[in-house]
């Protein structure tokens, strides 16, 4: 079953080549630029997201220790849960965004579309990051978890 899936994934648009008289050479058939663009987009954005998440996980620990000073046993679980939630939402959003791209015909267009999409994604990630910092700051200010 899975071999079949892989085969289907990499055999591209055979219907197109059947309708035309002259068979399209294999090197051209393999160039469904949309799929190449998707693969590049997914690789780059997953790499950036995972790297940023790991950095936040390691550096955010200090803040959590500050906020939950009276519950030291809470720090590690909260940190892990925050990391999981971050990955779920961000990677989910990236995959969600793969939905309606225009039809890519030339390599130049591919770079255009890719750069636009990746740039937009990075802006969204940055905004989420600052929102996160704001929430942490609010928590620290009210310190609702300190035992008075």
């Amino acid at each position: 079953m899975y071999l079949q899936i892989i085969l289907i994934l990499f055999s591209i648009n055979t219907e197109n080549s059947k309708t035309k008289q002259t068979p399209i050479p294999l090197s051209l058939q393999m160039q469904n630029l949309n799929i190449i663009a998707y693969i590049i987009y997914l690789l780059v954005s997953f790499y950036v997201t995972i790297k940023v998440g790991w950095m936040c996980y390691q550096n955010g620990r200090v803040y959590l220790e500050d906020i939950f000073g009276h519950h030291p046993s809470w720090v590690t679980p909260i940190n892990k849960l925050l990391l999981t939630g971050y990955y779920l939402i961000n990677l989910g959003y990236i995959a969600f965004n793969l939905n309606d791209w225009e039809n890519i015909t030339t390599p130049l267009m591919m770079t255009d579309v890719l750069i636009l999409k990746l740039g937009f994604l990075l802006v969204v990630l940055g905004a989420l990051h600052y929102f996160n910092i704001w929430v942490l700051a609010q928590l620290a200010k009210h310190s609702m978890f300190s035992n008075k």
Binding site: I5, P77, L81, Y86
Partner: protein, 126 residues
């Protein structure tokens, strides 16, 4: 051809959905046990029972939603490129939903903790 593409999509989507649900539930409730113990002030039985009930609820909701959005209409799926698009759209949406549920659970735990603290302060005042 159309039919086989859709079945392929289901066969990729279903394992992905199951693994994702299992992984998130496992992480959430393994780490959530500490909070539960704190909320119920170390009464082990109640804490574990509540944790398990939350877990069952989480599984039911997640698998329910995952299966609910399974259907792919033949009009939207006609070549490999569409297969990738539809699959990533569905999996991404499901993943965002799971993340939302995770944060909701965290919020509930925090609320429980806050309530417990208020109750203790009231009893100590009395």
């Amino acid at each position: 051809m159309e039919n086989s593409l859709i079945i392929t999509a289901y066969f990729i989507y279903l394992p992905l959905m199951l693994v994702l649900t299992y992984f998130v539930a496992d992480t959430l409730f393994k780490n959530g046990q500490v909070f539960m113990m704190d909320i119920f002030r170390g009464r082990l039985e109640i804490a574990l029972a509540t944790n398990r009930l939350f877990k069952v609820g989480f599984y039911l909701l997640s698998l329910g939603v995952g299966l609910f959005i399974l259907k792919i209409s033949p009009q939207t799926l006609y070549n490999t490129q569409n297969l990738i698009e539809v699959l990533s759209y569905k999996t991404g949406g499901f993943s965002i939903y799971l993340g939302g549920m995770l944060f909701l659970n965290l919020y509930l735990l925090f609320r429980g903790k806050k309530k417990t603290r208020q109750n203790t302060s009231v009893t100590t005042q009395n």
